[in-house]
Symmetry: C2
Subunit: 409 residues, 2 copies
């Protein structure tokens, strides 16, 4: 088999920022994205934040000629926003929804409603099995005091576990998406160490695009400038990662990003820049033995760091579970006291004294409202504690297995 | 490697019916289950409906000597109820929560609150990699008019997809659990056809236990007799299924079920009977090629049947989404009308006529309650429609791939 002609694969990844009624100039941008994809003839297109099925349908119709195969991953109330277009038939798909994804009461952030997930599509190209993953993790709204860090670390852990468990028969693994993590953040180091995925930006032979490969840049008219203030060049949070199975090599020949506006227009495709990679896949002829993985001490170190973040989250979740539970109990107590007072008044114990009906009824409604709200919060934080505990335990188990293993992974 | 000594593996599976405050004689039964497991020294123990972490903790403490390795799968508000005990180290775990699991407003059934899932534990025994799955699907409350059938079929599909995608590097696949399906039901045929899993009951050389291998029997004092009336012998809904990878064979030497009471006592372990299998695993020496799978026409037939069930569910879900949406709109309209009437009264348009404050306020509260409830239902059925649609699409894709493939799977 050695000497097989190499396969060149062009991959496009973009967070499309296509929220109906909210994202600026959405229909126009979706049209521009479709035009670009048609012109360039990518082999694989991985999109995030395509929240509207109509937008997906429009893209599907437009890409019918160049990427006739596609899949839209459905989940949650609004959807996962994830979709894949491919020049080659998609043989199978699977969706894994992350167990934690922010808080329902943080309406201004809205991540909770999106059913954030990782989607897998199995695609065979020239006899080579590609496991293609597309994902979008919880956003980071404040880097200094990031309340969502434990959730994002749990998502990174679930993502890497899902990839590890589902990719064992794949010849090539590809992951594209908006990971909402800077290259040195603990979640992405965890993901890369534990899966062996390589970052197209650091591995590429040629690069063209925004400085440092940034995908959220101040010169894009749709980015929120205040959020990017500490980073004058912008930040890199959108990635194409890849890994070869034992009988293959994958190299990144070229990586490009868009640079703020769509060619020939004055608007960008999205508030994110697109990442475009040209990969070179070659069969090596024999099962070369898996490329040496990350050394055990490095795995232990990054996992311990991630576990600390999960524990910090667990402490906070326990505190919130406790205080919402206490609030619910207090509201219940108040309601019971009111019921007793009402019964007392009915029984004529306070004869002669006027009964303050209006303020009484208002207080009862207030107490009932607080009871319902606090109970809901308590249930939500109970689930949160359970999932953080479960992840912490899985991490502990993984550390145990690692520490018993001599040498390398 | 041929001639390796064969591995004998004893597997125990039981739905423990251990719901705090609700299940009869729970602490006593958990003690009896622990005693039996200690006495018999099983290699793998797969339990369902262990809802209380304290019960899990008690079992863990008791089984420390014979099954020192264990994992409790956490999910949902109440939990998944799933756990695994093993004589051999558990190397890795993963949990997949089913996307549909009944209705939150069916409080009397309660499945929705349980976060029903499939748990995977990777265990290496004598150098052989076992992927061990434990699961519990949605209950069937009325066989004639089973409103949950589409959800159970979606769960069976997600279960088989999860097993197929995660077991590719496993030497042996084992699945134990309460599938809530009779052996001829579409979901279990789908699961078996598409994964190649074999049913220990039909494959075993020796069987001892309830007639027809039933696991819910009328002579168990905890079963609901009226539900079992059409089935005088009982029903078989708890299974141990297995499959060997290409270099292995697995045979079931012996299968047993409990028969109503725990030996030496007058009470059963649970309302279900336990299933106990002795498996014989042998390395065949060479990769024998995967055992011929199910023929394509059979795969197509069972998948088409399952797809029909999903479509029936989709129609029902769409109707419910529509009617809850209409109800929410009507309630909103009523509130708006009331607001207009109140404004009119304030503006003195109906001067002289008495304004019916009490009935007005009551009506407003009623309309608000209906609005909130109907909106919640509408959102829930929107998710349901999305997930049923997603599954239907995946099934359509699988049918397409099958029909393009010549010959056998």
């Amino acid at each position: 088999m050695e000497g097989d002609p190499a396969l060149r694969l062009r991959v496009f990844d973009l967070n499309c920022w296509a929220i109906r009624y909210l994202s600026k100039r959405r229909p126009e941008r979706i049209r521009l994205i479709g035009d670009r994809l048609c012109q360039e003839g990518f082999d694989l297109v991985l999109l995030q934040e395509v929240w509207s099925e109509r937008d997906y349908g429009d893209l599907k119709a437009k890409l019918g000629g160049c990427c006739p195969f596609s899949h839209y991953f459905r989940s949650g109330v609004i959807g996962s926003g994830l979709c894949i277009f491919s020049k080659f038939p998609i043989l199978d798909t699977l969706l894994y929804q992350y167990s934690l994804n922010g808080y329902p009461y943080m309406l201004q952030h809205g991540d909770w409603f999106c059913g954030k997930s990782v989607g897998l599509a199995v695609i065979k190209i020239s006899g080579i099995v590609f496991n293609v993953y597309v994902t979008h993790l919880h956003a980071e709204y404040c880097r200094e005091k990031d309340a969502y860090l434990p959730h994002r670390v749990v998502q990174a852990w679930e993502l890497l576990q899902f990839i590890r468990h589902t990719s064992k028969a794949a010849d090539v693994v590809l992951l594209g998406g908006d990971l909402n993590m800077h290259p040195q953040d603990v979640g992405i180091r965890l993901l890369r160490c534990w899966t062996g995925l390589r970052d197209a930006f650091t591995e590429t032979k040629r690069f063209e695009g925004c400085e440092d490969g940034c995908t959220l840049i101040p010169s894009n008219r749709f980015t929120v400038k205040s959020e990017l203030q500490p980073f004058p060049l912008g930040i890199r949070i959108d990635y194409i990662l890849y890994k070869a199975g034992s009988s293959f090599t994958v190299k990144c020949e070229e990586l490009q990003t868009t640079t703020g506006t769509a060619p020939g227009t004055d608007i960008p495709y999205s508030d994110h820049e697109a990442v475009m990679a040209t990969l070179h896949v070659q069969r090596t002829g024999q099962a070369a033995g898996v490329t040496p993985g990350t050394a055990v001490p490095a795995l232990v170190e990054v996992l311990s760091e991630a576990r600390t973040e999960v524990r910090v989250g667990l402490l906070a979740a326990r505190r919130q579970r406790y205080s919402s539970g206490r609030m619910a109990l207090l509201a219940l107590l108040l309601l019971l006291l009111q019921a007793a007072a009402a019964l007392g008044a009915l029984a004529g114990l306070a004869d002669g004294q006027p009964f303050p009906k209006l303020s009484f009824a208002l207080l009862a409604f207030l107490a009932l409202g607080v009871l319902l709200l606090a109970t809901g919060l308590h249930l939500f934080h109970t689930i949160e504690v359970k999932m953080l505990q479960g992840t912490e335990e899985q991490m502990r188990m993984a550390l145990g297995v690692l520490q018993e293993r001599p040498g390398r992974s």
